[in-house]
Every structure is written in C-alpha cells, then in structure tokens.
Symmetry: C2
Subunit: 230 residues, 2 copies
C-alpha cells in the first residue's frame, strides 16, 4: 500500500536502529500538544481531496476507506502513485505545494492536520525532523520499487506483485478484499483495465487465485505468485 508513518508505532523499537530512525511519531501525539487541530472530513468516491500544485497547508491521515495519490498527463492519462488505507498519512510536503493529487478511491474519511503545527514543531524538534526524514525515505523506497515494477515487469508480474502486496495487510495473509476499482488497479500498475481483468482471469484459470467476487480474491498459491517476481 502506501508508506505508513504510523505503522512504526505498532512495531517493536528496533534494537540497534540507525540513528536516523528514532522514536516513532504520530499525529496523535501532536494532537495532545494541541498544535494540530484534526478536522474529520468525508469524501465520496472519486472526490478530489487536493490537487497537484495546490498550496500544501494541510496533510491527512486516513480514518477509513482508501485514498489515492496520483499524477495526470494533460490528455487524462493517470498514474497512481500510492493507495492510502486506514492509518496511513499522506499529503506531507517539504515544498510549498502538493506534488501529487489526492482523491478518494472509495468513500473515505480522513483527518486533516494543519501543516503549520508540524513545521513549527520540526523547527525546534530534531526528533520530529528525523521522523519526517524517515517517513520521506520510506516513501522514496516504495516509489523506487514501484518504478521497477512499472518499467520492467510484465502484466502478470505486476498483478502478482499487487496481490501479494495487498495480501500482507489481510489477517490470513492470503485474502485480498479490494475496496478499489479495476481502473484504480490498472492506473497503479501502468496497465489498462482490460489487461488487469484478463490477467486476473488468467491467474484464476491457473488456480493460483480464486475470485469469489470481483473484489474478493483469495491467493491459493502464494509460492507460485511470488515466483512471478524474484
């Protein structure tokens, strides 16, 4: 999915972590300091949350649903950069404006945080600055993996990677419940909706997955799916 700022909170503190990966940080903590008022916002599917180039005065955390961040070409072609699920933070910028657009991939509730609070805190707080750096580097690592996928993988490899990625969040580790459309999957993988559909059907025919409904996918052969990548 996306880079998760808050994910670190749930993980044990790494024993010999690098200096630059220190205490986890969460907007919640900032809430307590009273600096970052969090407004709860709801967006219907496909509603724009913000647009590339807008002044980046706010960042967001997903409360429920899925948000997507993406870029567009002038003729409408779209590349989705990441999906953001519950707990994920998105819209954090270093510059003055958003470098991506953000939209609700399905009905979606988010908390918004005023950036000024973070900026001000980070100005004094080296720890917070380090958190932001770690967050950015984590996003960067994801973006680099994504580039490898987009530039060098075939359709099957892309879809397999996508499924495995989403399955990691499921309790069983082999069930994927998609809250997003085929179009979103396609625009994330750099494919068309038809190719995504065909590839899923193909994988089902091979008995590598089972589609109980279009949005409910069971990974029946994790080893084989992993084999598509490396």
């Amino acid at each position: 999915m996306s880079t998760r700022l808050s994910a670190a909170i749930h993980e044990p503190f790494p024993p010999a972590a690098a200096l630059l990966m220190l205490t986890p940080w969460s907007p919640h903590q900032a809430d307590h300091a009273g600096r970052l008022a969090g407004a709860l916002l709801h967006f219907d599917q496909d509603r724009e949350i913000y647009c590339e180039g807008d002044e980046a005065g706010t960042f967001f955390k997903v409360v429920s649903g899925v948000a997507r961040t993406c870029k567009f070409l002038s003729d409408g072609r779209r590349q989705i950069d990441a999906f953001h699920v519950t707990g994920d933070v998105f819209g954090v910028e270093a510059g003055p404006s958003y470098s991506l657009s953000a939209e609700a991939a399905c009905d979606c509730t988010v908390t918004s945080y005023r950036r000024r609070g973070i900026d001000a805190s980070a100005f004094h707080d080296a720890g917070l600055s380090r958190q932001l750096f770690a967050y950015a580097m984590q996003s960067l690592a994801r973006a680099q993996d994504h580039a490898l996928l987009l530039g060098r993988k075939s359709a099957v490899e892309k879809v397999a990677a996508f499924l495995l990625d989403w399955a990691k969040n499921s309790p069983s580790g082999q069930d994927v419940t998609l809250a997003i459309t085929r179009q979103d999957v396609a625009d994330y993988l750099g494919l068309t909706i038809e190719t995504v559909s065909r590839t899923l059907s193909h994988l089902e025919r091979q008995a590598l997955i089972a589609l109980s409904s279009p949005r409910q996918i069971r990974l029946r052969d994790l080893a084989a799916l992993r084999g598509f990548n490396a």
Copy 2:
C-alpha cells in the same frame, strides 16, 4: 538528472520558503567540522559502487563523471532510478542498508562520507534534519515523476522527456552531451536499447533533434519536444 542536495547552494534563498526548506546544506560544511572525512574514490565504467542491501555506512558525492542508482530483477532486468552528475549526492539512507545499487555509468570520481558523522549531527541539529528531509522529499518528487513516465508515457514521450531533462543542465539549454550508453538510457526509460535508438533516429528524421555523433545531441525544436509531454 538526480536529486541534488547541493544544488540549493547555488540558488538564491527563496523569499517565503516553507519552514521545512531552510538553509542549504553541503557535505563541504560538514568537512569543516571535521566530522565527515571525505575520501576520493575512482570507479571505472560499470564498476559497482555499492550494492542494494549492503550496509549503508557511507554516502557519496559525484566529483566527476556520472553514477547511476538502480534495481535489478533476479533475471537481470534492470531499472535505473537516477543518474547522478557532478555535485549530486547519492547513497543517503534512513535505514541500515542501501535500497538501491550504485554503479559508475562512465569513469567516475566520487567523494565518500561516513554516515556516522551525519547521523550524529542530525541527532542534535534540527536544521540538518530538515535538510535531510528536504533532500528526501526532492528525491521523492523525482521518483514520482519518473513513475508517471514509466507507467504512462510512450517511447517518444519518454525519450523527449529525457532529452529535455538533460538539456536543462547544458549551458545553451539545447545541447545534450551524453556520457552514458544507450543501454543506460534504455534502462532508465523502461525501454530497450533498440527502441531508444530508433526513437532518436525518428526524432532526427523529423528534424526535432540533430545527432552530430551518437553522444552529441542537439535539440532543434524545443517546443515540439515539449509538446510530446504536456
């Protein structure tokens, strides 16, 4: 080209810059503090500088030549993430190990810096932490643009974008002198070497560029080239 940590040094300080984009930072400054010994290293073309997964105890700045950072699939397919030219910093990590491999794209001299120094400084110095954050976010923005290119652009659009990108560094703004092979260009754009070659020939036939030699490219119609993107 790549994200440049030091590029900011040469640019006027933005008047109303966001809080998170403060004073430029350069390894040189750190040198003066005596914390980051800079060793000068030379790499012949295609020599490995470091490998994905290696312990990231060092980062680098290009003195001359071009370095590339990239990822590989198990069967050898390669995706180049970025090229780094004189002045560019690469190999900065938040985690314990490198997320990419780095190699000399041509004969290449780099300065190496011990990471410990930076880590230690950043621990106390909020300003340095902010610099690192800004650096990471700039890299992230480049990676996102790259993903759009890889996922959604055609071969001509990719090549045109590549040429325009490199021409920005040339004094005239319309001459590109490549120090890298067609294979590197291809692996950066997610194409094959033949497609890159054919596309360049195609652009030359259209009189949009002139190839005085394979490595010496003149952009004859910037407007038309820009038109390929948007």
